[in-house]
């Protein structure tokens, strides 16, 4: 772990915000107050945070249907997101996007995306813009193990190599696309990274439940890409704690699988253990953050509940800039 105390506290806070945000939504959605399809990121926090901690607002990310974690890690406003998910006109997207379309382009967050695989080409475009600007910025495409079977993902990888775009393909392999296992749907003897490699990219692999492994790996990746070596890919082995979408009974999981991954592969628990054992932080530091985050989420929810609702006229706005 090459991080100082401040950075570690910040990383923990971000991960914890995501976890609490998602845990809260999980309960709330069951009650029926929240509309739409929601895919929760809980379990994968170390990836989003370990990646995004290296980025500035001028570095872009493009996310997926499971986008809350990426948004929060990239600095999207917690309250604005909660309001968006609530469908408020005060939401980050005025209630027009909802969970699957949260974006904050000023923060370099080019959108969650409801279309699996759609993000990678967009990231290549953002990377080409960064290349043209020549300031060493990058663009990152988050993709799941399922998304890596979509043609767009392959096209994007090839095009990034051809154009030497500073794009980074981050594959979050959580072993499932919906209810289908990675072993079935990804037709390769090996892993996703090997595929990316065959497109002529330098690749890395790391344990996505180990924050320091993610963070250290990404440091290398970013050094490589920012230096103008063209695109790169990273595969993180990770776990999702909730169902594919809220409501999924997860009958495809093995017996005890969820208990096991919660016990052994919880990135937040592991982070806490590592940093306290290594005496980098005290348990009390983290407890304090826990409390702060809990109240932050509570406040965000209260604000979302109280926030203005959109009106029928709002439907027509924001289609075009003029006309």
């Amino acid at each position: 772990m090459q991080l100082n105390r401040t950075d570690l506290l910040e990383a923990y806070r971000r991960m914890k915000i995501i976890r609490d945000f998602e845990d809260f939504l999980h309960d709330e959605i069951a009650k029926g107050e929240i509309a739409g399809f929601t895919h929760l990121y809980a379990g994968q926090e170390a990836v989003a945070v370990g990646v995004c901690e290296h980025l500035s607002d001028d570095d872009k990310i493009v996310s997926t249907h499971r986008g809350h974690g990426h948004c929060l890690a990239k600095g999207c406003d917690v309250e604005g997101m909660m309001k968006e998910i609530w469908g408020s006109r005060e939401g980050l997207c005025k209630g027009k996007g909802g969970s699957m379309h949260i974006a904050d382009v000023d923060k370099g967050m080019l959108g969650a995306n409801g279309i699996v695989g759609a993000g990678a080409p967009i990231a290549v475009g953002a990377a080409l813009a960064a290349k043209l600007d020549g300031k060493g910025n990058v663009a990152i495409a988050f993709s799941g193990d399922g998304a890596c079977n979509q043609g767009t993902t392959f096209e994007a990888m090839n095009m990034a190599v051809v154009t030497k775009a500073p794009a980074i393909f981050v594959f979050e392999n959580n072993h499932y696309s919906e209810h289908t296992g990675f072993e079935y749907a990804v037709g390769t003897d090996k892993d996703i990274a090997s595929r990316a490699e065959a497109f002529g990219m330098k690749v890395w692999r790391a344990d996505g439940t180990d924050f320091s492994s993610v963070h250290d790996t990404m440091r290398e990746v970013l050094e490589y890409v920012r230096a103008g070596n063209g695109p790169a890919a990273v595969e993180f082995d990770t776990e999702r704690f909730y169902g594919h979408f809220e409501g999924d009974p997860q009958r495809y999981r093995g017996k005890g699988e969820l208990d096991r991954i919660r016990a052994e592969r919880d990135c937040i628990k592991k982070f806490r253990e590592t940093v306290t054992e290594a005496k980098l932080l005290e348990g009390s530091d983290l407890d304090k953050i826990d409390a702060e985050v809990a109240s932050q989420i509570e406040q965000a929810v209260a604000a979302a509940r109280a926030a203005d609702r959109p009106t029928a006229e709002d439907v027509l706005a924001d289609v075009y800039i003029d006309y």
Binding site: A35, G87, G95, K96, G97, M100, G146, G181, Y252, A312
Partner: protein
């Protein structure tokens, strides 16, 4: 007759036809569910519960669970159909025609024509479509106009369990490619379905669901129920409406439409999609060309606005047509002299 849900009419009809004809094959993402997992095949059936039990009954060569690769799914359906099979490909959301349109539009729809009529391509593409779930801009669309406009495709949009059964059976036995559109908000609707294992609803025959002399209302899918609700309210005021459920948009039952308008002279078209180059405009143009002499008022169209589909409940409700809007349109058409 057996009472069942719209979704079960989908599932049961396909299941029966698969029993009857070994050439019928289904493919799509999670149509088995649980492949490559500890839970095993069918741990969870298709996410819409329209293929439960298929894998167990017909095995992996006829119930093909695919990766997330819609172009390859539709393309494979094309290749299966050209090779003598009757594939039924499921696109989980109709919005995913975006990532597979070439195979629908430039391949499957055109094989027969490009090949000089010497082949057939009996592929079915199931599209689960429509708004009502607050699923926002990329999971709620009704792209029937795009597909209806494509020569070579047949496009059907059943609104009741019975029509689902009859039209799915027809689609499976049909030798042309069929876009089979299932409205997700209707999946839970119950209805009586004929038990006859050969019950089919031929394409190109609209269904008159309400009869009246004053106005013609055209609708499909989820819009049919709304049109009926509006008609029922109007009936209380003594206004009689023909409500016509088109059922298939290609082929289109022009006769049913023109005959009705000849009597009523007033036309209201209800369409869940945005207004431009839509099915609504298609029907309006048909009547403005072929029943002009009968028309006694401007043609009214109740459609979604020219915007993407918004997320929030209030926004989606405002976006969609509803019985009130339809009623208002009818009253407007009737007020014209």
């Amino acid at each position: 007759m057996t009472k069942m849900m719209y979704r079960d009419a989908v599932r049961n009809t396909i299941f029966q036809e698969m029993q009857r004809d070994p050439n019928v094959v289904v493919l799509g993402e999670d149509v088995v569910g649980g492949m490559g997992t500890a839970g095993g095949p069918e741990a969870i059936g298709g996410i819409w519960s329209t293929s439960g039990g298929f894998y167990e009954a017909f095995g992996p060569d006829r119930v093909i669970d695919t990766p997330i690769s819609e172009s390859a799914i539709v393309g494979a359906a094309g290749g299966l159909a050209l090779s003598g099979k009757r594939p039924i490909a499921e696109l989980m959301f109709a919005d995913f025609i975006g990532v597979s349109l070439d195979q629908i539009w430039n391949q499957i729809a055109k094989f027969r024509y490009m090949f000089g009529g010497k082949t057939k391509c009996p592929a079915i593409i199931r599209l689960i479509y429509g708004a009502g779930y607050n699923a926002a801009a990329q999971h709620s669309q009704s792209p029937h106009a795009i597909l209806t406009g494509m020569p070579g495709l047949k496009v059907v949009m059943p609104s009741t369990p019975a029509d689902v059964a009859g039209m799915m059976r027809q689609a499976i036995r049909d030798d042309d490619p069929v876009i089979f559109m299932e409205h997700k908000a209707l999946y839970g609707v119950q209805g009586e379905v004929p038990d006859d294992p050969d019950f089919v609803v031929p394409f190109g025959h609209a269904r008159l669901t309400r009869a009246g002399q004053d106005v013609t209302i055209l609708a499909t899918g989820m819009m049919v129920g709304m049109a009926e609700a509006a008609a029922d309210t109007l009936a209380e005021d003594g206004i009689g409406a023909d409500v016509i459920d088109l059922r298939s948009t290609s082929p289109l039952d022009e006769e049913a439409i023109l005959d009705s308008v000849e009597v009523t002279g007033r036309l209201v078209i209800v369409d869940e999609a945005p207004p431009r180059c839509s099915l609504a405009t298609d029907l309006a143009a048909l009547v403005a060309n072929k029943a002009f002499a009968s028309l006694r008022a401007p043609i009214e169209m109740v459609t979604a606005p020219h915007t993407p589909i918004p997320f929030a409940r209030e926004l989606e409700s405002a976006y969609l047509p509803n019985p009130d809007k339809i009623e208002a349109a009818v009253r407007k058409a009737l007020a014209y002299n």
